[in-house]
């Protein structure tokens, strides 16, 4: 492999777009048009470059690839260090894919302060990519937290009527979890003498310390995932955020938590992970069943999808803590699939919201008569969300259930109930919005999707089917890394149980 730091280039390429957008001058319409074009081109080029990362990726090894290390604070032994393994690569691709889609989706719906909006999105892309690629725990934290700034502004400036409440809730909830994680990071740094993630993974933290560190990390990741009972910021943030904001929030930001659990909690604190597995199961089951029921009662489309996100992320946390190959791969797959499907569902709500300016389910009926293309696309993603075989949602849920069934059949039974409930609320939503007679005056003149909107959905539809029918290329990439994770974990478990037995 060459020494060219292609990964760093991908991470920071959107910054060039930010610079270009900043220097745009002229009257408002010109500025808006050019800002959109620059942002779209930058993000598309970033996506194309990130494809090369996948092509150049060697799936046979669990080592970090495309690593790039620059000394940053040498006397503290903290360095800018990035790299990808099979777990983070796919999340990086998800981020680079969703950003241009978001920019395209905001083409017409965002008319005020377009320049600032595009800057915020491009900055957010930098933060997301940096977060997934970071191999230094301090660098990780900086990117992880930095996302708050653009997201806070996106919700607060371009959001709905209750946007201020939602943006504050989002910011403060996330911050309070994260600062505790920061202290844990500092404690780890002193104990291990390094901030390098690969080195920290090989460091054995003392068992009683692991408990505290694990809890501090959970405080942050549980808010991000989000897990019950700290999920309440999510429906508010989703409802008030502009469509593209919801897409990034559901598509990528929620994955921060899942990724964090896989990258930090499991490999670094295996003993605490074993001890707290029942807690995670319990919280996840509550999330799956309770939020599914809550979703069923929603009158707001975005809120319904937001609650369904909590339920789907519950599968991800269950799968992660099964510590079986199927469970973890299923969790990652489910996270990716949810990234595509929930992003698409928010875009679907955005399509009708742009026309009618309402998200209330009661304001819609019989859309199939006026919007056939829309109805088909909605159906595809609705079924993917339910987990119909042949769509991406099925593979993830199935693998997670296979994984959890080997470990705990009760949890498996509850999780499977969640799948059924998922079908109930999604089909119910679909029936109310799409079918029936079209009698409302406001809907009589509604138009079907235009070409730009179809272009937005085309890659997502394709991806849902490819991931559902032929999952091998995706699973192949993560296989070596997941195997390695579990192998390391088993060593730690054996050592721990050996000690426990000897102690008796």
């Amino acid at each position: 492999m060459t020494d060219f730091p292609i990964l760093s280039l991908v991470i920071f390429l959107p910054l060039i777009g930010v610079g270009l957008v900043l220097i745009i001058r002229g009257d408002e319409i010109t500025v808006a048009r050019n800002a959109r074009a620059v942002a779209l081109w930058t993000s598309v080029i970033t996506f194309v470059l990130s494809i090369f990362l996948w092509i150049g990726f060697d799936a046979s090894t669990a080592d970090f690839q495309f690593t790039h290390r620059v000394y940053w604070m040498p006397e503290f032994n903290i360095a800018y260090h990035v790299g990808l393994d099979g777990i983070s690569l796919l999340f990086v691709l998800l981020s680079t894919l969703l950003t241009p889609i978001c920019i395209l989706a905001s083409w017409e719906s965002i008319q005020t302060r377009v320049k600032e909006y595009m800057i915020a999105f491009l900055l957010m892309e930098v933060m997301m990519l940096g977060m997934f690629a970071a191999l230094d725990i301090v660098v990780f934290y900086i990117f992880y937290e930095g996302v708050l700034i653009p997201m806070f502004l996106i919700i607060g400036v371009w959001g709905g009527p209750n946007r201020i409440y939602a943006s504050f809730k989002f910011f403060l909830y996330t911050l309070i979890g994260s600062v505790l994680m920061l202290l844990a990071i500092l404690a780890m740094y002193f104990m291990a003498g390094t901030a390098d993630i690969p080195e920290l993974m090989n460091f054995n933290f003392p068992a009683e310390m692991q408990t505290w560190l694990w809890l501090a990390f959970l405080a942050s990741f549980a808010v991000k995932v989000p897990m019950w009972p700290v999920h309440t910021w999510l429906p508010d943030a989703h409802v008030e955020a502009p469509t593209a904001g919801s897409v990034i929030l559901a598509g990528v930001l929620l994955k921060f938590g899942a990724y964090g659990l896989l990258r930090f909690s499991l490999p670094m604190f295996p003993i605490a992970s074993i001890e707290f597995t029942p807690l995670i199961y319990a919280l996840s089951i509550i999330a799956v069943i309770y939020t599914s029921l809550v979703a069923l009662a929603q009158e707001d489309m975005k809120k319904l999808i937001a609650y369904s996100s909590v339920a789907h992320m519950g599968f991800v946390t269950i799968g992660t803590f099964t510590l079986t190959v199927q469970g973890i791969e299923g969790a990652i797959y489910q996270a990716l699939s949810h990234g595509v499907v929930s992003a698409a569902l928010f875009l679907i709500v955005g399509v009708v919201y742009d026309r009618i300016h309402s998200r209330a389910i009661a304001d819609y009926e019989g859309l199939v008569h006026r919007m056939p293309t829309y109805s088909v696309i909605f159906m595809i993603f609705m079924l993917a969300s339910v987990g119909l075989p042949g769509t991406s949602g099925f593979v993830g849920e199935f693998l997670v259930l296979v994984g959890i069934f080997q470990v705990n059949t009760w949890v498996a039974a509850f999780a499977a109930t969640g799948v059924i409930l998922g079908a109930v609320y999604m089909l119910y939503l679909y029936r109310r919005v799409i079918f029936g007679k079209l009698t409302k005056d406001s809907l009589l003149a509604i138009t079907d999707m235009n070409r730009r909107e179809i272009a937005v959905f085309a890659p997502l539809v394709l991806l849902v089917f490819v991931m559902g029918i032929y999952p091998i290329p995706f699973l192949e990439v993560m296989h070596a890394s997941v195997d390695n994770l579990i192998a390391d974990f088993e060593v730690a478990r054996a050592a721990y149980e050996g000690v426990a037995v000897a102690g008796q």
């Binding site: 040498p74 006397e75 900086i142 607060g156 403060l172 920061l182």
Partner: protein, 493 residues
Amino acid sequence: MPSASLPNLIPALPELFLVCTAMALLMLGVFQKAGAKGEDVRTGRFVSNLGAIGLFLTLLLVVPIADNGTAYTFANMFVSDPFAVFMKVLILIASATALVMSQDYMHRQGIARFEFPVLVLFATVGMMMMVSANDLISLYVGLEMQSLSLYVIAAFQRDDLRSTEAGLKYFVLGALASGMLLYGSSLVYGFSGTTSFETLASVLQGANASDPSVGLVIGIVFILVGLAFKVSAVPFHMWTPDVYEGAPTPVTAFFSVAPKLAAIGLFIRVMVDPFGDLLAQWQQIVIFVSVASMALGGFVAINQTNIKRMMAYSSIGHVGYALIGLAVGNEVGVRGVLVYMAIYIFMNLGAFACILCMRRGDRMVADIKDLAGFSTTHPMAAAAMAIFMFSMAGIPPLAGFFGKFYIFLAAIEAELYALAVIGVLTSVVGAFYYLRIIKIMYFDDVTDPLETGIPRELGLVLLGTAAVIVLFFVFPGPLLDAAGTAAAALFAG
């Protein structure tokens, strides 16, 4: 040293230069022909410019002294070490910037008189003395020189009731604090027989440090009280909001940076140099003061309607964070404090530059709600203000995060876990009111637009400080190295 010979003046050269400059400017102002109002204003601006240049030249004098390492003079009462140089550089930057920022405001308010820059210069000399003090006597002289100048400029807008009230309040409470400090010093002298920091440090070792006499401890507590007042730490913070609100805005900007730096510098030197071995005696006091400052600064700031008052509580909170580093009481902790204060002055100067842009016609406004829609009327200033607010809230990758980062790094290393947890939780409370400013600027609509023109010097200050805050993470090395050297020098002695 023969008593007749002249002491070595080289280490104190910057102070001597600055004090001569200040006196020359005073003469210049006094002997300028008193005449029409326009004449006075011109003199005021001229002296102000010369004062800023003088501060800058002093900065150029301070920097080469850093290469000389540690030097003592005036019978060991004055020390110039890397720690003092580090603080002096920051103090001079802060004073010069504050002076430049004041010009437009002073002109508009009709108080552009030459006494103001002269007093700022004298106060700055006092601050430089404070951070170079190596004796309880020179400490007090420096402190009073600074304080007396500050009392006057707090009341500089003498036709304004609140400004005079601020000056008087500051004076009465400040005098009380100075009295306590002096009383504490006399107790320390009485129970140890010396006022020199070095002799104190050598006396207070071993058995004397592990089991000090009660009188000495009471003396230290009184000194702590006086210093806590000067850095405006809870529970000696009461003067801060009133003085910040009442004093003319550029004076508030000056108060919130330079004297704070000097007082923190003095605080560190007194606690570490002579009383370093008594850490067990004063650590819990500093921890309490720190926690109380962070909590009060965070919670009370939420309800403020005046932005200057809010900044006062914000500064109380920031002092709380800085004191965490001191409570740790080792080199890493002090380095954290130094980095924190360096970043703090840039954030604060920038934020006050924004506040100085808030006016309607020629009338200055300072209500937080006046900022509504600031982002549409002043896009660049609002962006800068948002950067400062996010930075003060400690959100990466902005510089304010790194300030907190090094502080908490030190606290965790010293295993002060509870203090660190309280610190981060109050920082979330703090984030709320900083976000509130951003919310008002960006999310609210314009009700009564502010005047749009930004004076050129304020624009430059905004640009410079914002660039420092945003780009700090790219080049953290120089500041970290300088702070590291400064902290190491303090602990080597």
